[in-house]
């Protein structure tokens, strides 16, 4: 783990850091969505014994994706500007919903879709609220 830098950075460095964190966060939303789908697959045949948990492949894979997602997200959020990253983070809701339809074969309907779009806009606007 590297030390947290307090050195002043040049504008071009700052722009590069912003770009980098935007890309990392975008990839993170996909990792997070995959973790959600794996978690749902995992609880379909959840056996609450040590052996049952350790042989639950989707559960272990889901935890791995979720862990990776969390760590990468924390690192990216440290250097990026939150108001810019929130709208991207909100995309997770879109990926998860598409995954529930395509992979889990859950029933789509207009209420769910409209609800997701509203939540995504809400999270994006919420992020702007932190701006000075």
């Amino acid at each position: 783990v590297s030390a947290i830098s307090t050195d002043p950075v040049s504008p071009s460095d700052a722009a590069a850091a912003r770009r980098r964190s935007t890309i990392v966060v975008a990839v993170c939303t996909l990792l997070g969505a995959i973790a959600q789908i794996l978690f749902k697959l995992a609880v379909r045949h959840l056996v609450l014994t040590p052996a049952g948990l350790l042989t639950n492949v989707p559960l272990i894979a889901g935890c791995a994706f979720y862990g990776l997602f969390t760590i990468a997200m924390v690192l990216a959020l440290r250097e990026g500007e939150l108001s810019m990253l929130y709208p991207i983070i909100a995309l997770t809701y879109v990926w998860v919903t598409l995954g529930t339809y395509w992979v889990l074969k859950e029933t789509p309907n207009a209420y769910k879709n409209l609800g997701i779009v509203t939540i995504v806009i809400g999270v994006a606007i919420l992020g702007r609220g932190g701006r000075k």
Partner: protein, 117 residues
């Protein structure tokens, strides 16, 4: 809406509260970080990670009782608590943007709830 789904929604809601306290302690812990790796071993950070993990376990258990397309959007209710604690514990301003975003999130969650009926 079946009782099983309602129970799952309640569990996701509770997981959101636990997770929001996790975020508060992670923030308190992060404020104490310095250039030494040892500073990661502070009680606030560890409690934050613990609450965060606990919240995840409750959430994943809740997924058993309903469709992910309904339960995952309920996670966004956690923002309500996060904004409340940010204001109470860290004196972060509650701006009109935050209120507007929160309002839209609540409307969205309500719509998804309707979609599960």
């Amino acid at each position: 809406m079946t009782p099983l789904l309602l129970r799952s929604i309640a569990m996701v809601f509770f997981a959101g509260i636990v997770g929001s306290f996790g975020a508060v302690f992670l923030k308190l812990g992060a404020m104490r970080l310095n250039s030494s790796v040892l500073s990661f071993a502070n009680s606030r950070l560890i409690l934050g990670v613990g609450l965060y993990l606990g919240s995840t376990v409750i959430y994943v258990t809740a997924l058993k009782g309903g469709p992910l397309s309904v339960l995952y959007p309920m996670v966004s209710l956690g923002y309500v608590w996060t904004l409340l604690w940010s204001k109470l514990f860290f004196k972060e301003a509650l701006t009109p943007y935050k209120f507007a975003g929160l309002g839209l999130i609540l409307v969205g969650v309500f719509l998804v709830g309707l979609g599960s009926a």
